[in-house]
Each structure stands twice: as structure tokens, then as C-alpha cells.
């Protein structure tokens, strides 16, 4: 069955001076998929991610989101397409309350009254209702990640890009985050950059492995973890 391709890159390259961070990457994401991007440090996952979100302008190549050429778009233009984005370091409004953070995201798409309702719903879903009036800057790291996740969810995006959503979380927190992600996946296609293998196993079907700026292999988690080349890449034996 021919499924709709919602995110596509063709010959995407990103160079920083002499360093080639992404080398002619060809990538396809189908509607409804939850794809994880993994790879050792410096493999180019986050660079690729930022080319999708508009935080970086690719040196070469094309990014397409739902048939629209978004290469070189500014982040706000990408977001306005209905894309929810969570960055590697939590980017939240530290000086505002949890509620205000979520409201700002929701208000972009809905009027004031609907925002009140949706914000309350989202806060309940992410179990942040009790701390809605707390200033985000005072929260623990895991909670701040959830605030950012709530901000993404409340806008009801059709495409969600997450960079290390489980970073720095305890095992319990990671389980809850996986639940949230599975819930989001029911209504949105997703691309997630992650390191935690168990976490990935619990959410992903297809995984894309990055290595030295290019895609090494794309398959299910089971196949990937058994692959000897992938093992070498991660364990650092000579290739």
C-alpha cells in the first residue's frame, strides 16, 4: 500500500567550515509513523533534526514537509505548518508559570476561551495540574521536559519532532514519557532523536541509525540491535 510521505529530505548536506555534519542524507517518513533517530555522538542526528525544524539552513539539499519545500524556512514558519518541536536542551519560558507556558502554545491556534479549556485538559493529561502555578525555572529537570512536552501537545500538531525527550529522566519518569509519546502517536507522525535503548525499544517500530553524517541503516529495533556493523559503530571498534 502506498502510504503518504509526510517528511522527506533529498541529498541533505550540512557543512560547518571543513566539517561535514550531514552528508547527502535521503530520508522518508510515512504518515502515522514513529521513527527514532539513533547513533553515536557526533553522528549528525541533532544537526539533521535542526535542518528539519528550521533552526539550521542546510548547505545543500531539500527538505519537504507534506509536499511543501521547507528548505531554509525559519523555525516559526515550520511551526506554523502544524509541527510541534521539542529541542535537546529544554527550551521553556523559565520566568513564567507552567500554565502560562502551555497557554502561550495553545493561544497560537485557539481563541482565549478554547485555550482555557484545552490548557486545563493538557495539564491533566501530562499530570502537571498540581504544579500549574509554579514558575518553570524552579522545577526539576524531568518536570521541565514534561512542560515542554505539554506545550507541544496542546497545539495538537500533526507532526511532532522531539530531540531527546527522555534525557536526564528517572526510570519511572521515562515510562510515563513513553506512555505520553505513544498517545501522541495516535494523532501525529513523529521523529524522535534518542539515546536510551530501552526507551526506544518501548516506543519505536522503525529506527534510523546515523553514522558520520549519513544514514547507516534503517530497520526495526530488533534487526538493528543484532546488526554487527551497528555494534561496531557504537562500541568503537575499527570500521
Amino acid at each position: 500500500m502506498r502510504q503518504e510521505v509526510v517528511v522527506q529530505t533529498r541529498d541533505l548536506s550540512m557543512r560547518f567550515g571543513g566539517v561535514v555534519a550531514n552528508d547527502r542524507v535521503n530520508f522518508d517518513l510515512y504518515a502515522g509513523e514513529l521513527r527514532c533517530l539513533i547513533g553515536p555522538n557526533g553522528a549528525g542526528k541533532s544537526t539533521f533534526f535542526k535542518c528539519l525544524t528550521g533552526q539550521l539552513k542546510p548547505s545543500e539539499g531539500v527538505v519537504m514537509i507534506r509536499e511543501e519545500d521547507t528548505t531554509g524556512y525559519d523555525p516559526h514558519e515550520v511551526a506554523q505548518l502544524g509541527v510541534g518541536i521539542k529541542t535537546q536542551i529544554p527550551n521553556v519560558f523559565d520566568g513564567l508559570t507552567v500554565e502560562e507556558n502551555v497557554q502561550l502554545s495553545c493561544r497560537r491556534w485557539h481563541d482565549a476561551r478554547r485555550t482555557q479549556v484545552l490548557t486545563a485538559e493538557t495539564l491533566e493529561r501530562v499530570r502537571l495540574g498540581d504544579i500549574r502555578k509554579r514558575t518553570v525555572g524552579t522545577l526539576a529537570h524531568g518536570q521541565r521536559q514534561w512542560v515542554e512536552l505539554a506545550m507541544v501537545m496542546t497545539a495538537q500538531p500533526w507532526l511532532v519532532l522531539l530531540d531527546e525527550p527522555a534525557a536526564g529522566m528517572t526510570d519511572e519518569e521515562t515510562v510515563f514519557t513513553a506512555d505520553l509519546i505513544r498517545e501522541i502517536n495516535k494523532t501525529a507522525s513523529m521523529i524522535i532523536v534518542e539515546h536510551d535503548m530501552n526507551f526506544i525499544r518501548s516506543i519505536a517500530n522503525k529506527v534510523t541509525v546515523f553514522h558520520r553524517g549519513a544514514i547507516l541503516i534503517e530497520d526495526t529495533m530488533d534487526v538493528i540491535s543484532a546488526d554487527p556493523v551497528v555494534r561496531e559503530v557504537y562500541l568503537g571498534h575499527k570500521h
Binding site: 516559526h76 527550551n91 519560558f93
Partner: protein
């Protein structure tokens, strides 16, 4: 809770403002009234920078560029047309336009922080230098000779419906005070609106605001333009207060003072810079009457001390103090109640 306390404070401020506005001319001397009009002009300038810098996080060193533009356009237009209403509106529009053009140039070029400060300072200096060299008779716009570093006269305000009815200084004071009150509450309303909240978000974390889909450049441009228009209004008021407009309105001294008002009054509130302006104005006027202390020395020391000791300004520091005091009172009350409870229980057990 916080909102309610703020609203009470706002109502109080409004009442104080109205009292000053209506009562002032009856209680104060004419000379003081005219001086106050000048001070009000400076206060509106402070308000404009408080909006742009305090609320929006846009570090503009050259707010005087729009201030002086408003003053000059008002003076020239008022001399050339009959009444002053058109001139005033034109002045505000001109100041806002200059801000819009400069803002477009800077924000859409992703220029920020320090570099933005440099550029805005440069622009106000350009205006200063340009206008200083307009002494000759060939520098004439309409019926107004620009007059170089001596400047040109600023005709006083006239009634909107009768361009021959020139307002007395007391009436100009009403207009000025009224303008300050309306401008202040207008800014408060703006800061609480969705637009204002997005501006705060952009100030807090511009990346996150953009990732939510807000075009930061557009919001900054909008806020900056409003600030420019406000500064233009301030220019009209000071033109009326002094009676003359000179290139000095664009110079480093006024530009520095605007920054000082916001530092002293604090960036956390809109009333802080306004109060800062009145305080510094009173201070510099008092210093001007006696020759012991040099104005520059005092202002310089004030600026240094505030940056080192009270970087957030007086009003936020005061608000902090009040917060801490009320919290201590609440804790004390809690402890008293808890003690009474255990005391009662002990008595019940004893029975």
C-alpha cells in the same frame, strides 16, 4: 493573587494621577506647573523605554531619536499650519514611522542585544549631528527655520476645535498629565494582552517563542513602533514644557538619562521608569540650583551604584521587600495558629 494585588496598586496609581492632574494647578505655582510639564514629557519618554526595554527586552540606547523627531515635527508643523492638533498627530506618526523603519531594518536583520544598542545610539547621534548644522537660512521647512544648535520655537498647544485658542500653561499641564495617565494605562493594557504576553515570551526565550509559531521579528517590530510613537508624544510634551526644540533632545545626555530612569526605576514594572524620571528630574533640578555638586558626577555615581548594588532597580527591590514582609507575617500567623491548636489538644487530653 498577584493579579489582584497589581490591580489594587493600579487603581491607587490612577487615583493619585487624577488628584495630581486636577489639583496641581490650584496648589502649585505657575513656574512649578511649567516645570512639571517638562518632567511629564520626560516621564512619557521613560514609559516608552520601559515598554520597549523593560517589557520587550529590546535594549534601545537611542529612544531619543523618536523623542526628538516627535518634538521637531510638532514644532515645525505647528509653526507652518494654524492649530496644533494636526501637528501633534503628525509628530506621533512621524516618530512611529522612524521607529518602524529602523525596527524593520534591525529585527529583520536579526540584529540583537549589544549591536542593537549600538545602532540605535548611532542613529540618534546622526540626527543630533545633522540638526546641529542647520543654522543657515536655507534650512527651512514650511514656515519654520531649523536654526541649527539653537533650534526653533515650539508653539504651545491649541484647542482641537479652535486653532486660535492657545492653551494656558495650566491647561497644557492638564493635557500633559492626562496624556501620561492614558499612556500609562494603555501600556498596562497592552502588556496584559495576548500581544504583550507574546512579547514577554520572546524576551524570555526567543527560540521557544519561534518554535511555537510566533514570528518574533513581527512582534518586536510592533512593540518598537508603539514605543517610538510614545516617545514622539513625549517629544510634543517637552516641546510645550520648554517652549523650544533643540538638537540637544537627540544627544547623549538625554539618551543616557532615559537609560538611567529605567535602571533606577526598574525594568520589572511600567511605573518604575516613570517614577525614576520624576525623581532624577527633581534631583537634577535641585542640583542645578546649587553649585556644590556637579550634575554629571551625581548621575554617574547613581548609575554606577545602581548597576553594582540594585541592578533590578528600586521598584522591584521594594516589591521584593513587601513580598518578604507579608510572607513573614503569614508564617508568623501560621505558627501562632499551630501553637494554639496543640495547646487546645493538650488541654483536652488533660481533661
Amino acid at each position: 493573587m498577584r493579579q489582584r494585588r497589581e490591580n489594587i496598586a493600579l487603581v491607587a496609581l490612577g487615583i493619585v494621577g487624577l488628584v495630581v492632574m486636577l489639583g496641581g494647578p490650584h496648589v502649585l505655582q505657575l513656574f512649578t506647573i511649567i516645570n512639571l510639564t517638562t518632567a511629564i514629557g520626560l516621564a512619557v519618554l521613560a514609559l516608552s523605554l520601559g515598554l520597549v526595554w523593560g517589557h520587550g527586552g529590546i535594549l534601545c540606547f537611542g529612544q531619543t531619536a523618536f523623542f526628538g523627531t516627535g518634538a521637531y515635527v510638532y514644532a515645525v508643523a505647528a509653526q507652518s499650519f494654524g492649530g496644533t492638533t494636526g501637528a501633534a498627530l503628525l509628530a506621533i506618526a512621524a516618530a512611529a514611522a522612524v521607529a518602524a523603519i529602523l525596527g524593520y531594518f534591525m529585527f529583520y536583520g536579526r540584529i540583537s542585544d549589544v549591536y542593537l544598542g549600538v545602532i540605535t545610539l548611532t542613529v540618534t547621534l546622526i540626527f543630533f549631528n545633522l540638526l546641529r548644522r542647520t543654522s543657515g537660512p536655507e534650512y527651512k521647512i514650511g514656515s519654520a527655520l531649523l536654526g541649527g544648535f539653537n533650534g526653533t520655537t515650539a508653539p504651545p498647544l491649541t484647542l482641537p476645535w479652535d486653532s486660535n485658542a492657545v492653551l494656558f500653561p495650566q491647561q497644557v499641564f492638564y493635557v500633559a498629565m492626562g496624556a501620561l495617565i492614558i499612556a500609562y494605562f494603555g501600556c498596562v493594557w497592552l502588556s496584559r494582552s495576548h500581544f504583550g504576553r507574546v512579547c514577554v515570551a520572546i524576551r524570555e526565550n526567543e527560540i521557544r517563542a519561534e518554535l511555537l509559531g510566533y514570528d518574533a521579528r513581527l512582534y518586536k517590530l510592533g512593540l518598537f513602533t508603539v514605543g517610538g510613537g510614545l516617545a514622539g508624544l513625549a517629544g510634543i510634551l517637552i516641546a510645550n514644557g520648554i517652549g523650544r526644540v533643540t538638537p540637544d533632545l537627540f544627544n547623549l545626555s538625554y539618551a543616557a538619562q532615559a537609560i538611567i530612569w529605567v535602571i533606577v526605576g526598574g525594568r520589572g514594572t511600567l511605573i518604575g521608569p516613570v517614577l525614576g524620571a520624576f525623581t532624577i528630574f527633581w534631583l537634577t533640578s535641585w542640583l542645578g540650583t546649587q553649585s556644590h555638586f556637579n550634575i554629571n558626577i551625581v548621575l554617574g555615581i547613581v548609575m554606577i551604584l545602581f548597576v553594582l548594588l540594585l541592578p533590578r532597580g528600586v521598584v522591584p527591590a521594594l516589591i521584593d521587600l513587601v513580598d518578604r514582609w507579608t510572607r513573614r507575617k503569614m508564617n508568623q500567623r501560621e505558627r501562632m495558629r499551630a501553637r494554639r491548636r496543640t495547646g487546645r489538644r493538650a488541654m483536652q487530653q488533660a481533661e
